[in-house]
Symmetry: C2
Subunit: 147 residues, 2 copies
DNA sequence: ATCCTATCATTTGCATACGAACAAATTTAT
DNA sequence: ATAAATTTGTTCGTATGCAAATGATAGGAT
């Protein structure tokens, strides 16, 4: 039994638990926990997305990669630095543009992609487990509409 | 015209743009941008949620507040510290438990709540603008199911 | 040839976010 | 009453995430 009694005063006009921002945060938290438990190599969600995006493109500059993976230039820099430190990606200066460095997968990184995709499918499956097939499609459709 | 030709190789078995985690991140990004443009006082989403939760409870310990607002103990500490610095909340030591400090709204903080709720409703409205009334309810229902 | 603008990459600052480890205080179990 | 388990709050480390400022390079317009 709790020593500290709860005195809850709810405003019927503003229920935090029903606001879209709060729900997005909670859903993201649950997904992140599932992700961390399932993923190979201790990768983070952004590192994962970044690797997948590189695998879809032979050559990408760092900034362009950030746009492809929906990350700020400052964010993608840190992500790429950490992927470099893990030996999964490498950067080569662009021969035609001295500002650019092209990011690509290392052999180790390329060898990991198939496993990561399998992990990703399991993570999506577990996150969506409470939903029916129809509900999963509806959720994806509605989320895409508000992006 | 782009000098740097795109060579995109998509794997039909794993489409990042359809994965729930990626969509949640994108939707969260758009919501965060709308939030920041609309909110009073430069509050962040976590600071906002925390203030609303305090307004629902006369007395809350810091850790308990974190649980109410779905934040880690380390996270809620930083949030409460910044709300203290803004003069919106205050902490009083619990008379019956020397570990606890009870967090409450200051007068300034309490005076802000009504405005914040109005901001919150506008933010939800703008975020959900692409959806019909039925779709909004469906999205909220499905998100709640996967939390 | 030069100027303007855009792009690329980096850096700094602020604010989440969470795991892990810790000390102090409290509660529960024995 | 005392030992064990739990709760509270703190600190450290790592990783996003974005705004803003900086410097270098590139491309187009005059």
């Amino acid at each position: 039994m709790s020593k500290h009694a709860e005195t809850v005063t709810l405003d019927p006009d503003y229920v935090l638990d029903e606001q879209i921002g709060y729900l997005l945060r909670l859903a993201g938290q649950r997904h992140a926990a599932i992700f961390q438990a399932q993923i190979s190599d201790g990768l983070t969600p952004t590192q994962f997305s970044t690797l997948i995006r590189i695998s879809e493109h032979e050559q990408v500059s760092q900034n362009h990669l950030g746009r492809l993976a929906a990350m700020d230039v400052a964010t993608i820099k840190g992500v790429v630095d950490r992927l470099k430190a893990k030996g999964l990606v490498a950067a080569k200066p662009d021969p035609g543009d001295k500002r650019r460095s092209n990011i690509c997968l290392t052999e180790t990184g390329a060898a990991l992609i198939a496993d990561l995709k399998a992990d990703g499918l399991r993570i999506t499956e577990e996150t969506l487990a409470p939903l029916s097939a129809g509900e999963r499609k509806t959720l994806a459709r509605l989320l895409r509409k508000i992006c």
